[in-house]
């Protein structure tokens, strides 16, 4: 393993063009192992597009992506996730017609290698329940294991999403605005949760809430119009006049 290498994920000249419009422009991103790294920037800066490129939900126009020193530029979405890069989505991504336990179990069951077995009873998955309940417990959802997810409160769906992502035992978690649309209490809860799960893992997150960024993140990369504006720790970045300008416009 290349565990010794300081960077878990690197992009070189990552570019995405949509019919003449450059959404992501030669981005060189380096994510250090075991850090929480934030990607911030005003609306339309290309943060989510970068996520989509990294997980191959979009195909890069140019550039190279490597994970653990391995070139994954041409790897398909599902394979990237199997390699250990697992993403969440901006809009809470759960399976609404299934129960919370089933949601987590879907992430666990692929390893059993029986996911194509349409003749096997559902009870063959019960061996995963213990692990699923552990994960639900970790995000404080143990009471809701048997509830159908569609009716759950928004904050709980996001917590469930994190539990499901954790079930994949990802080396690198990509969280797309984990606190978006949440009330203050839920924001605190999810912030704690991310802190808790970041042990032994690397997290790259898109986040608008600068409070969350300042408490959690070791490194902050600021994107503007698809390109990297600046990078550094939160204090350095937040003191940078160009960053203020990007958010607020030029001082009058």
């Amino acid at each position: 393993m290349s565990d010794a290498a300081p960077y878990i994920l690197e992009t070189q000249g990552l570019t995405k063009e949509f019919k003449g419009f450059t959404a992501v422009d030669t981005v060189d991103l380096k994510v250090r192992r075991h850090q929480i790294h934030a990607l911030i920037g005003p609306n339309g800066a290309g943060k989510t597009t970068v996520f989509n490129l990294l997980t191959k939900f979009l195909i890069p126009t140019r550039g190279k992506i490597s994970f653990n020193g391995q070139d994954i530029t041409k790897t398909k979405s599902a394979d990237i996730s199997r390699k250990g890069v697992v993403r969440s989505f901006q809009i809470s991504a759960v399976f609404p017609q299934m129960t919370a336990r089933e949601n987590v179990r879907v992430a666990l069951q692929r390893k059993l290698g029986t996911s194509f077995h349409f003749w096997r009873p559902l009870s063959s998955l019960n061996q995963l329940n213990e692990r699923a309940d552990e994960l639900l417990d970790m995000v404080g959802l143990n009471k809701f294991a048997d509830s159908v997810v569609g009716d759950m409160a928004y904050g709980r769906k996001r917590a469930l999403e994190i539990a499901t992502t954790l079930a994949m035992e990802p080396e690198l978690m990509l969280l797309d605005e984990p606190t978006q649309g949440m009330g203050r209490e839920d924001v605190d809860l999810v912030t704690q949760l991310i802190k808790k799960v970041s042990a032994d893992r690397t997290i790259l997150m898109v986040e608008h809430n600068l409070g969350v960024v300042s408490t959690l993140c070791d490194t902050v990369t600021v994107l503007q119009r698809g390109a990297v504006l600046t990078e550094g720790d939160y204090d350095t970045v937040s003191a940078d006049p160009r960053v203020k300008e990007a958010y607020m416009g030029k001082a009058a």
Partner: protein, 307 residues
Amino acid sequence: MNSKIGYLVAIALLLVLPFVVYPVFLMKLLCFALFASAFNLILGFGGLLSFGHAAFFGGAGYITGHALKVWGLPTELGILFGALTAGLLGVLIGMLAIRRQGIYFAMITLAMAQMVYFIFVSSDFTGGENGLQGVPRGYALGFIDLQNDLSMYYFVLTIFIVAFAIIARTVHSPFGQVLSAIRDNEDRATSLGYDVDRYKLLAFVLSATFAGLAGGTKTVVFQLASLTDSHWHMSGEVVLMTLLGGLGTIVGPSVGAAIIITLQNYLASGPLGAWVPVVLGLIFVVCVLAFRRGVIGELQAFIRKSF
């Protein structure tokens, strides 16, 4: 537990029913119930609206008919052969259609099914407009004369129960879980490492195979394979049955099929005659407006709320 008792009661009822109701009608009903259940696998649990299932239902009908009449295969093998051919056709159509979603998926399946239909219209072995007539029912297990309607009925019932059980198991299997996940949120399923297209294709092929099983069985019952079964009307009718009974429920499609077939049979002989499609259309409109979950879906929701 409760559902187990329910199934036992249903089976007991189906065992004695031919002594009260005309067996050929019951057999037709079972064939369509199986067809709708197979269809529900891809629409209700896979979330894909196929508008080309008539190709599998009608196609298997011709293949089974040809295998029995011209090649003289034993009845069971003929039906099995028809079902497997439908499955193979499902692989072909599925591979082309599965990459698309929503309306595009529906359009591709419809277009492919229309192609299959026109092949049947212009082929010699199908008998064109006249249909493939005089298919022998043969013998079950080599010695039970299926010319007897009652024996034929129990033969069809056996096929139905076995196929229904496999479909129900598929829904409640590790595969079924992944399929539900894909239906609920495809991108999320991808991000959990599932190659969603492969799961959808398997669901589509299973659905096509059981639709074919239903079509082949129907040919044996009526000793006739006709163009009606592969016409796009049939693709629409199975959607109607599934929605009316309850999309994504295990028994809903069978109930829907029973309602539609019963109405067609009894209304057609009454004063309404040619107006049957209008009546069915009205029922469908009422269903969509008033009880969207279908008969069984609403019933389940009611029970969940009340107890």
